[in-house]
Assembly symmetry: C2
Homo-oligomer: 326 residues x 2
Amino acid sequence: MKLATLRNGTRDGALVVVGKNNSVYASASDIAPTMQAALDRWDEVEPKLRALAEQLEGGQVEGTPVDPTQMMAPLPRAYEWIDGSAYINHIVLVRKARGAEPPATLETDPLVYQGGSGVLLGATDPIEVPNIEWGADFEAEVGVILGDTPRGVKAADASKYIKLIVILNDVTFRNLIPAELAKSFGFFQSKPATAFAPFAVTPDELGEAWKEGRIHLPLNTYYNGEKFGDPEAGPEMHFSFNDLLQHLTKTRAYTAGTIVGSGTVSNDDRSRGSSCLAEQRMLEKIDSGEFKTPFMKPGDTVKIEMLDKAGVNIFGTIDQKVVDAD
Amino acid sequence: MKLATLRNGTRDGALVVVGKNNSVYASASDIAPTMQAALDRWDEVEPKLRALAEQLEGGQVEGTPVDPTQMMAPLPRAYEWIDGSAYINHIVLVRKARGAEPPATLETDPLVYQGGSGVLLGATDPIEVPNIEWGADFEAEVGVILGDTPRGVKAADASKYIKLIVILNDVTFRNLIPAELAKSFGFFQSKPATAFAPFAVTPDELGEAWKEGRIHLPLNTYYNGEKFGDPEAGPEMHFSFNDLLQHLTKTRAYTAGTIVGSGTVSNDDRSRGSSCLAEQRMLEKIDSGEFKTPFMKPGDTVKIEMLDKAGVNIFGTIDQKVVDAD
């Protein structure tokens, strides 16, 4: 089942069910007015939403054509947005890029940070860059949306708390990171609003590709119209979403609608390209002694999408343009 | 005007207006169902809430007696919870306690971190401590709740975005901090759910005590029934809330209902005591060579409140007991 949030002039938009081929949607407002409302009463509303999805697929309910620019982020604001960094290859490369060592516990203790969740961008919203000296970068990631999740979940039991899967662009101002991390309180100004592809899908929508808390499909990123990377999101996700949930719930519980990200998808195999500019730049530096690819500037575009084995664009496309903001 | 959130079996509770002497409340559900709903339409609902507050004060509306245990956090879940660390004395002491240097930019660049906001505790909710080895500590703070706040706010214009003032207990697992900060992604497991006093008040409720983005009153903390600290929250708040807002809005905007904390209130004058155990412990270590006061264990109690010049308990009392959770 695919869900989305239709722009309707309100802060949180209107919940819609989207057909499997992404072309039409049906209003789900009679079942739950918003995505958050659906997640708040998930056990009750999920069967109703699935029934509506079947009716839409079968033609018993008339669909309205999908206009991606009319879709907001699945959750236009969320109660929590927690981003992991679960691909070891990414951690090693970006730390090298800023002259930092990977943490000693790299392979045993997940890296996560709490992100800003009050303003989340839709798939075609512009990336505002007030200052190109800040080093604007994209980061293509996969993520999950939780139902109510108690403290103390073990990885083996974690998958039942994962209600929806998303893909996202964790926009980052690279050049603001070193000074922030030097203060030891983590990222803040270096992480502006995150953008999401329009469709949030239930795990079964991925079929065999959803396995043991990982998504076994490539995540495609296009930068200024050219393929930039298509790394596999599955095998090299060192900590699965199940592992991340065990880590997150050690000391607290989460409300329905909490979003958890994988971190930048990254493969050791260079032929798969990268999901962010920082990795590409570091590889250039290793090979040639200097960074070549500049960070993003107004006019640059980034597209992120994930196709299933049959070629269906599962989540719809993140399709953003960088704009001068001030 | 004082607002609160009444427990009613729903996730977000019911908005009520509270009388100035804290003894009675009146339902505000006809104006806005929840605190978040009120903040989402603040300009429209504020005058109506103020009118109701006047009617309650004047006796034209009958009040219901306040039972503090029936109050949830003003926002039982918030879209963002951002905590500063604006009292230099606190930063210096707690860093010394864990053998770390204060950041080089201590007096010029505010320290803030993004906290978990999906589960916020009411004033009398227990503090769950699954493991006493984690070093559970309280941190008494003041905070503000924002209306919609754009990117790029300057300190001089910031006060208009501050709609409500709160006090809070930023519970911290001290012994989980060093390993987390060593990974450089900031606090996460070391920060379980934060607790809030029941009443969120408009700035005018503080009269002269609200000045230039600071609250010029002492914040009282009682630990196991004894006064633990009563530091002044105003003069030594090195970065005011206005300064913090300028810092926060450098790269992004905030939705209504975003909560911003001051960090642990702390004075250089030792006779004012402390607002957390970590400071007290560091002072013991400086004086005697060893930490004496242990961190919290099941059965310990912490009370936090702030009185105005007339002795009125402005926000109501945070009154929590530590419980063994697992």
